[in-house]
């Protein structure tokens, strides 16, 4: 029997135990991956395009480029107002429970950055208080702001302060939300500015069991401060401040990807619109506006650059403001705007001045502010998509996250079959990082997408078909997974250079992305 078992086991070993390594083979599989159709709206965004009657397109970019933070006009001082309240007499008194021994009204005037305000309403902010008492009995104190109302009810805060031993003070702290409070800043005689009227009182706790002996030494100190004040509305005189907008730059992200080549564009229109809901007279001076490329700078030349622009104050009905709108238009004929844009700016630099109430308080403290009507500047750039691109080169680093298991993929090709209706060609090059961390390892083996076929009028009459092939080997796949980065370099050329071509709303490119994978099957 044992011999039989040995024989049987040997047979098993013969077939299954002799495996020394995995069984592997390579097979090439072809399958479709993605089908997509791209029009100019996919590239530039549908909301940025206008269509003319002849189906030609206009790139229309509307952006808010500047907004003044009006809160800065009314910045409240970061100081604490401290008031000491004591008995009006030098005598020492025995105060019975429930008796109010201090009741005082005071006015505090604030310095608000040169402004003289008569009124404001808050949409945010807090009043912080601290009561320090040396009274040898518990007191009930109140802080009342007769000038501050919310829904017609004046501000009032009642605070319980415990007993002091006369040496160590009893302290009570707290804060009150000032949202929606309206402040009359004209004081008790209605002739002042920036003035807050307050009333403080102290009463011995009626529930206390005995009289409390109080002298002038037994004072109560009230410290009050304002925090995070955010005005919603204001009236008064906002001052004569000159606001400097120093030389600054703003990056244009998409343009940053253009690394070389030239772009010749046709008519361009740029409107800069200043919309003011701030109830003051203003004078704006755009000192400079420059187009900055890596190697060149083009300053925008226009009659308004460097000259003061007067903005009259808007009108209001109640708190509804009719904002004042002022537009300055720049075009090829009135400025060097085409040269400004053909410089392919990666950044714009600018500096300006803004003068508030250049002629003083000509409206008798009639300046107004409603946060719902801000002061801002918009641009509206309209570029007809009629241009000539000569080796216009876009380059960008793409972040690639490959989560699929690619262990068995030995190499592969992505074949892009393109049917192009755009009158411009694209040469596509893709690189992966090499061992030194440089994008010098190309994976594109066939790179050119031909432009559509044009007639003598440079109009598209038929599409072209092209094939772009990206091929990666095992080593490149491994590096791609590790580095998660690709470099994409695309060179655009319009057909029939140097003639300009028009992009129509029906132009598109149909892309079929297919893949051929060399897959290694493994049986362990």
């Amino acid at each position: 029997m044992s011999r039989f078992l040995c024989l049987s086991f040997s047979t098993l070993l013969l077939f299954y135990g002799c495996r020394k390594e995995s069984t592997t083979w390579d097979a090439d599989y072809a399958l479709p991956l993605i089908h997509t159709k791209l029009d100019i709206g996919n590239l530039l965004g549908d909301t940025n395009l206008l269509v003319n009657a002849d189906s030609s397109l206009i790139l229309s970019i509307q952006r808010e480029i500047y907004r003044i933070d009006v809160d800065s006009f009314f910045e409240t001082p970061d100081t604490t107002i401290s008031q000491v309240h004591k008995l009006p007499t030098s005598a020492t008194l025995s105060i019975s429970p429930g008796y109010t021994f201090i009741s005082e009204t005071e006015e505090s005037t604030y310095n608000i950055a040169g402004a003289e305000l008569r009124y404001f309403k808050l949409k945010g902010g807090k009043l912080n208080y601290e009561l320090i008492s040396y009274v040898t009995g518990p007191t009930i104190d109140s802080i009342i702001l007769p000038c501050a109302t919310k829904g017609g009810i004046e501000f009032s805060e009642v605070i319980y302060v415990p007993t002091s031993d006369g040496i160590t003070p009893a302290i009570a702290v707290g804060s009150v939300d000032l949202n929606d409070y309206e402040f009359d800043l004209t004081g008790t005689n209605s002739l002042k500015y920036n003035t807050i009227t307050s009333k403080a009182s102290s009463t011995i706790d009626p529930a206390f069991s005995s009289n409390v002996t109080i002298s002038q030494a037994d004072s109560i100190r009230i410290n009050v401060s304002f925090e995070d004040i955010s005005p919603a509305r204001a009236l008064g005189y906002f001052g004569h401040e000159l606001i400097e907008i120093p030389l600054d730059t703003v990056a244009i992200p998409f343009m940053d990807n253009i690394i070389s080549g030239s772009l010749d564009i046709d008519q361009v229109q740029l409107d800069v619109t200043i919309k003011s809901g701030l109830g003051v007279d203003m004078q704006v001076n755009i000192e400079q506006l420059n187009s900055l490329n890596t190697s060149s700078m083009v300053a925008l030349n226009h009659s308004t650059i460097g000259a003061p622009i007067n903005l009259t104050r808007p009108t209001r009905t109640g708190w509804t403001v009719a904002s004042e709108i002022h537009t300055e238009s720049f075009s090829n004929s009135t400025s060097n705007l085409d040269e400004f844009l053909e410089n392919l700016p990666k950044e714009l630099s600018y500096s300006a001045q803004l003068q508030i109430n250049p002629f003083g308080d000509v409206n008798s403290h009639g300046d107004f502010f409603n946060y719902e009507y801000p002061l801002l500047a918009n641009i509206n750039l309209e570029v007809p998509l009629c241009f000539a691109a000569n080796n216009l080169t876009l380059q960008d680093t793409l972040n690639i996250e490959i989560e699929e298991d690619t262990t068995n993929i030995q190499n592969g090709s992505i074949i892009i079959n393109a049917t192009n209706n755009f009158p411009l060609s694209a040469e596509i090059k893709v690189f992966v990082l090499d061992e030194n961390g440089l994008f010098t390892d190309p994976i594109s083996t066939s790179t050119l997408i031909d432009p559509a076929v044009l007639n003598l009028a440079n109009e598209v009459i038929s599409s072209s078909t092209s094939q772009v092939i990206l091929t990666v080997n095992k080593d490149q796949i491994t590096r791609l997974i590790q580095t998660k980065q690709l470099l994409l370099n695309v060179v655009f050329n319009t057909a029939n250079l140097p003639n300009m071509i028009k992009i129509m709303d029906w132009h598109n490119i149909d892309l079929n992305l297919n893949v051929i994978l060399n897959y290694q099957h493994t049986i362990n």
Binding site: R19, T23, D28, Y29, P32, I34, H35, L38, E404
Partner: protein
């Protein structure tokens, strides 16, 4: 003890199992009261699949393009066969004269393990698996008709043997370990010339029963099987006997013709098996992406999403399958010292196993009183033409054999498949 000898003599001619094509004749000592025999058979064979290819497929190694091309050139367009099998078992004959109150009957108990993986496939199916479809862009690939059947089961049986009529029959309880069957009556893969789509037109049924695991202890089905063997001696007139009258002409046995059926039965796969019925055309054209620059479309190639969208939902329902029953008929001439050279011929067919009928014939040679051998030529089965050989040893207490249905394949890379069959019989 004479009866024991008869029993052993009766059954020993086919000891081994139904997988062997060879018939052994054994000399049994009349003192035996019990016979225990066992066998083991292992093989793989694929018409067109060389050993160089199969060795790498089974035992490991890299299958390069040259080997794939050489192999594919030898395949038929349709109906290529491949099978891998292993079986082993043990059987114990007990001598008795009281079974069924009839001294002519004895009984035997057997236990077997049988595993058979068989397939019939097209050349294009081989190509798409081992080479892919990248070089068949714009063409149809006929992946069907292709069939695959994998069945693993164990059986425990009780046999009754009639001592004088040279027949035996038995019934076995079947424990189904696992089953997987794929029948692709039609399966056409088309890759568009511009690679814009791949379509698969198929009419395929799949049955799978392995929810309880795939190890030897798994119980995924229950069934039964019958086996039957009848051996008839061929006799001729003995004209050399001059002492007998014409009316009482003596006969002599020149050989035996044996009919054998094994594993005729069925299994009910009833532990939550899955069945798939697919009669449709799948078309995959990649992902339709509205905007390539929308990063929300980043997860384009998700294998799980793809498989969920393509694979049908299984239906859980019990089903029956026939066992891969074996039918054998074989003639073996009787060898004696005076006639040491004889012949052997037979035919064999196994149902539900993707094999072609097999016929074979050859010679028996008596080498020694205890040693004989057979050499045969085989046509059909999983191969085309192969040569087989068997060596049989028989002594008073032990008989043993080793046989092979594919001698060239056993030793040469140029051969097609391997086969080995070992048996041992001990008499007590």
């Amino acid at each position: 003890m004479i009866r024991i000898s008869l029993v052993i003599a009766l059954f020993s001619f086919y000891f081994g199992n139904a997988q062997t094509l060879f018939i052994a004749s054994n000399t049994i000592d009349s003192t035996n009261s019990c016979v225990i025999e066992g066998y083991a058979n292992a093989f793989y064979q694929g018409q067109g699949l060389s050993n160089e290819f199969m060795n790498k497929l089974i035992f490991g190694g890299y299958i390069d393009d040259q080997l794939k091309d050489q192999t594919e050139q030898k395949l038929l367009n349709f109906g290529n066969r491949l099978a891998i099998g292993f079986s082993t078992g043990i059987k114990c004959y007990i001598e008795t004269d009281s079974l069924l109150k009839n001294p002519n009957w004895n009984y035997a108990l057997n236990a077997d393990y049988i595993e058979l993986n068989s397939s019939s496939y097209s050349k294009d199916l081989f190509h798409v698996i081992f080479s892919g479809n990248a070089d068949r862009i714009g063409q149809n690939m006929e992946l069907g008709p292709s069939f695959m059947n994998r069945v693993v089961f164990q059986k425990l049986g009780l046999n009754l043997a009639h001592k004088s009529n040279n027949c035996e029959f038995g019934v076995s309880f079947i424990k189904g370990q696992s089953h997987l069957a794929l029948a692709a009556n039609k399966m056409t893969l088309h890759t568009e010339s511009d690679l814009s789509a791949i379509s698969l037109e198929t009419n395929t049924n799949i049955q799978s029963a392995n929810k309880r695991g795939n190890n030897i202890g798994a119980l995924n089905g229950l069934g039964f099987a019958l086996n039957f063997t009848y051996s008839h001696p061929i006799k001729v007139n003995n004209h050399s006997s001059s002492s007998l009258s014409k009316e009482t002409v003596a006969t002599k046995e020149i050989g035996t013709i044996t009919f054998q059926m094994d594993n005729v039965g069925t299994v009910a796969w009833n532990n939550y098996p899955n069945t798939y019925q697919i009669d449709t055309t799948y078309s995959y054209a990649g992902y339709e992406v509205d905007n390539l620059f929308d990063t929300g479309n980043a997860n384009w190639l998700n294998e799980n999403v793809l498989s969920d969208s393509l694979l049908p939902q299984p239906e859980v329902s019990n089903y029956w399958t026939l066992l891969p029953a074996v039918f054998n008929i074989v003639y073996v001439s009787k060898l004696t010292a005076a006639h040491p050279l004889g012949s052997v011929a037979g035919a064999r067919y196994q149902i539900n196993a993707n094999m072609k009928p097999m016929v074979y014939g050859g010679v028996n040679i008596r080498l020694h009183r205890k040693l004989n051998t057979s050499v045969i030529g085989i046509v059909g089965g999983y191969g085309t033409i192969t040569a087989g050989m068997r060596i049989n040893y028989s002594s008073k207490l032990i008989s043993a054999f080793a046989s092979c249905n594919n001698m060239i394949g056993l030793f040469s890379k140029k051969g097609y498949g391997k086969n080995i069959n070992l048996g041992l019989q001990c008499r007590f």
